[in-house]
């Protein structure tokens, strides 16, 4: 399995740590960059864009928490999906909120999945793995 470049925006350090652990459970060779809010993530992406980075070096997956300071996940999602360079990168929303409004808004803004953070790490790791595998499979599809 090809190691992935994954960006994670999560303000809660504990949750970030757990997400990173869960992603490592899936594939220890994954490169994971963690940001504390949406703004930092967007800044990172803009840097990549300025460097005119090659397409195969772009991140393979972005995980966004919804509730974050400065710029929340929904806003960051919107910016990503409006950007020509990054709009093809799958975005996974990871939140404690089960609020239907949050879920609906996420999908409306172009999110590719939505995961409610469970209280069970095994379940959480399983969910992350399932979604990652799906997107990894899609990104490895032979070009037509």
């Amino acid at each position: 399995m090809k190691p992935l470049k994954i960006l994670v925006a999560e303000d809660n350090d504990d949750h970030a740590e757990m997400i990173v652990e869960a992603l490592e459970v899936y594939n220890p060779e994954n490169t994971i960059n963690r940001f504390s809010n949406g703004e930092q993530l967007i800044a990172h992406l803009e840097t990549l864009q300025r460097q005119n980075i090659e397409k195969h070096l772009l991140p393979n997956l972005i995980l966004l928490d919804i509730k974050m300071p400065i710029m929340d996940g929904l806003e960051a999602l919107q910016l990503i999906k409006q950007n020509v360079t990054f709009k093809h990168i799958p975005v996974m929303m990871v939140s404690t909120s089960e609020n239907a409004l949050d879920i609906e808004q996420s999908y409306k803004n172009g999110a590719n999945s939505y995961i409610v953070k469970p209280f069970d790490f095994t379940e959480f790791a399983q969910k992350i793995c399932d979604v990652n595998r799906f997107w990894a499979d899609i990104s490895e599809l032979p070009k037509a």
Binding site: H15, E98, N99, D120, F121
Partner: protein, 718 residues
């Protein structure tokens, strides 16, 4: 209130008065009419009797003149002289025979030319009163009787009577039926004779000239030209009938009938009208009553004239009929007048009653108008004030005189308010309706008041707007109240939103550490579980269990918040389907607890939010399982029935039951009874969901007897 008002009593009295007056008038007019008719009839009777009498007198006078003419012809004297001088008249030198011949010629001519003369004779005293010349009419034939047929007449009553008369005196006989040789000639005809004595030169009675008249002509003349309603009687001096309305009675005395006027009638009343005597008499035989007028034929000639009495009579029945005829007209007129008066009175009563009611309504309106605390004015199209109430004077603090000529411009100082009011007035005149206004106006105390003004068109006739009424209501207090209410509402809404946000944030923020605690606890168990001793392992398990419990609690809290917030959308679903969905989500605990279900009327269709109903059922089933009697598998019976427009779902269990003193408590959030492992939110959610559906939940339970929850849902759309 109205001095022209005719009360009900007045109306009845008026009607009675009109009726009494009318009936009185009717009675009086009857009296007048009957008196009038009687007077007129009596006058007519008197006139007629007099006229008839005059006719008789004229006829008799004419007959007398005939007699005197015949008497005065020269042959009469000539014959006397010839007979006394050996058949030759010494004066004229004419023979008797020639005189006789001349007389015959005269008689013949006279009879021929005088229709009522039947016979003319010259009778001498000599030879026992032998007729000298006789000419008579026999039917259409007039003949001179030959000498050998002449008769001796000195035994007849007229001869006797005339013999004793002085010269120039006439004999006039009774009217009787003509007799020949003592027998009534057939057919009978009435006659009378007039004779004059003839004297010789020595003034000795020589003989007489006598004329027989046909009385039928006279009698016919009398009976003709008589008004049909008048009856005519002609009596001789013995009161015997010469003319009677009863034809058989005329001349009945000639046949030996002794009946006569004096015996046949009985006088009842007699009176004098215009010199004619008027009587009321009764015919004894028939008992009929007549009004009569008698006229005694009175001749001015110095002759013996037998008295004749003319009587005109009218039957009382006839007279009453005339009275009735004439009275009829009067009755119609009178009754018409009475009816007209009654109709007029009734109309007046109706009119005055309507006026009374109108005035009453007006007075009531006036009282409302004047007594109103609202300012009421009416204005014309130019804004001139036409009427106002007391409140208007007070509010605008003007006098009656000022108001008299005031315009709305002078009353309303705020330019904005004035423009708005004027615009509404013109709208009323053009469109006949307008909306009410709310404006700020200065009152008499120079304080600004908020006034709500309602405008209404005042119609003249059906469609013309004559003026506009404006009602100003001081809504300052209400306006303040409304404003404060709006403010409170706004605050409440923002608090509510804050609360929603709070619940959201709290649940999120509480969930975050739970995720961490649960996650790391799992990591420890995964990575170092085998290195931990039993005690620490148990402690970690307790952390996990409590994390799950708190997660569930947070989930239900969020559910409750969401249910309260959401707008209810209902659909139709089958009860069985909802029960199955609830069972599926509780699958594990149902299997573990060996719970069983008995469903009645599961096919029932329900108008409900099915998702919420499933949640209700799930909570109730879960309670039934959680609070089951130890070692007794729960049996959950579900029944569904319709009660009026309510649909009831009954969920009964065989659990430990709930003491009635707790029944109120358990539907409150976090109220949990000591036993079991519920979250304390479940029943609050059930109650909230039912209230969302305008329904409710009922509980029947007692300790140790199981519980029966009934969900009552109104079926509004069915």
């Amino acid at each position: 209130m109205n001095r022209f008002h005719l009360s009900k009593l007045g109306y009845i009295v008026g009607c009675l008065l009109i009726l009494t007056l009318g009936l009185g008038t009717l009675w009086y007019s009857y009296l007048v009419v009957s008196k009038q008719v009687e007077n007129e009839t009596n006058t007519s009777l008197a006139l007629q009797s007099k006229l008839k009498g005059a006719t008789i007198e004229q006829t008799l006078l004419s007959s007398i003149r005939h007699t005197r003419f015949i008497y005065a012809t020269p042959p009469v004297d000539g014959i006397v002289r010839a007979l006394q001088h050996k058949d030759i008249d010494p004066i004229e030198g004419i023979e008797y025979a020639l005189w006789v011949k001349r007389l015959k010629t005269i008689f013949l001519a006279y009879v021929k030319n005088t229709p009522d003369i039947v016979q003319i004779r010259f009778i001498g005293k000599a030879n026992n009163g032998r007729e000298l010349v006789r000419v008579h009419r026999h039917g259409d034939k007039i003949e001179v009787v030959p000498d050998d047929k002449l008769q001796q007449k000195n035994q007849r009553d007229y001869f006797q009577n005339v013999q004793s008369l002085p010269a120039d005196q006439l004999y006039i006989s009774e009217i009787s039926l003509n007799r020949e040789y003592g027998e009534i000639e057939q057919p009978p005809w009435p006659t009378y004779r007039i004779a004059q004595p003839v004297f010789d030169a020595q003034q000795q009675f020589f003989g007489l000239v006598i004329i027989n008249f046909n009385a039928q002509l006279l009698l016919d003349k009398l009976t003709q030209h008589t008004d049909t309603f008048l009856e005519l009687f002609l009596l001789n001096n013995q009161g015997q009938y010469l003319i009677s309305p009863n034809k058989q009675q005329s001349f009945s005395f000639e046949y030996g009938d002794t009946s006569n006027w004096h015996d046949d009638t009985q006088a009842i009343v007699s009176s004098q009208v215009d010199n004619a005597k008027s009587h009321t008499i009764k015919f004894k035989a028939t008992n009929t009553v007549f009004n009569i007028s008698q006229h005694l034929v009175n001749m001015t000639v110095t002759s013996h004239v037998p008295p004749l009495t003319v009587i005109t009579a009218i039957n009382h029945q006839q007279m009453n009929q005339q009275i009735r005829q004439r009275y009829g007209t009067s009755v119609v007129f009178n009754v018409g007048l009475i009816l007209l008066a009654l109709v007029l009175l009734t109309l007046y009563r109706l009119y005055s009653h309507a006026t009374f009611l109108r005035l009453k309504v007006q007075a009531e309106f006036e009282a409302i108008f004047q007594g109103s605390n609202d300012v009421i004015i009416s204005l014309d199209t130019h804004g001139k004030i036409h009427s106002w109430n007391h409140a208007a004077l007070t509010f605008f603090s003007v006098s009656e005189d000022t108001m008299e000529n005031a315009n709305i411009d002078q009353l309303v100082q705020h330019p904005q308010a004035l423009t708005a009011i004027k615009q509404q007035i013109s709208t009323i005149f053009s469109q006949h309706s307008s909306e009410s206004l709310e404006v700020h106006l200065s009152s008499n105390h120079q304080t600004t008041r908020v006034m709500s003004i309602a405008f209404a068109p005042v119609y003249m006739g059906s469609s013309t707007v004559a003026s506009v009424s404006a009602i100003f209501r001081d809504v300052t207090d209400a306006s303040l109240l409304r404003q404060s209410l709006l403010d409170s509402n706004k605050k409440l809404e923002s608090r509510n939103d804050e609360m929603q946000a709070f619940v959201y944030t709290v649940s999120h923020d509480l969930k975050s550490p739970l995720v961490t605690i649960g996650g790391f606890a799992d990591r420890i168990l995964d990575s170092a579980g085998d290195k931990l001793d039993e005690k620490n392992k148990h402690r970690l398990d307790r952390i996990r269990i409590n994390v799950d419990h708190m997660a569930k609690l947070l989930g239900e809290l969020l559910d409750l918040a969401r249910i309260v917030k959401q707008k209810l959308k209902t659909d139709t679903c089958q009860l069985k389907t909802c029960i199955e969905k609830a069972q599926q989500s509780l699958n594990q605990s149902i299997v573990d607890s060996k719970a069983s279900f008995e469903i009645t009327n599961g096919d029932q269709q329900i108008q409900v939010n099915s998702q919420l109903l499933v949640q209700c059922l799930q909570n109730l089933f879960s309670n039934a399982i959680n609070y089951a009697v130890v070692n007794t598998p729960p049996i959950i019976k579900i029944n569904c029935f319709q009660k009026d427009d309510l649909l009831c779902i009954e969920i009964a269990d065989n659990g430990m039951g709930i003491d009635p003193k707790h029944h109120d408590k358990i539907f409150k959030i976090f109220e949990r009874l000591d036993v079991g492992n519920g979250s304390g939110v479940g029943l609050a959610i059930v109650k909230t969901i039912m209230e969302k559906h305008q329904g409710w939940v009922e509980l029947k339970s007692a300790k140790g007897q199981g519980s029966t929850f009934t969900l009552c849902i109104p079926q509004l759309n069915q």
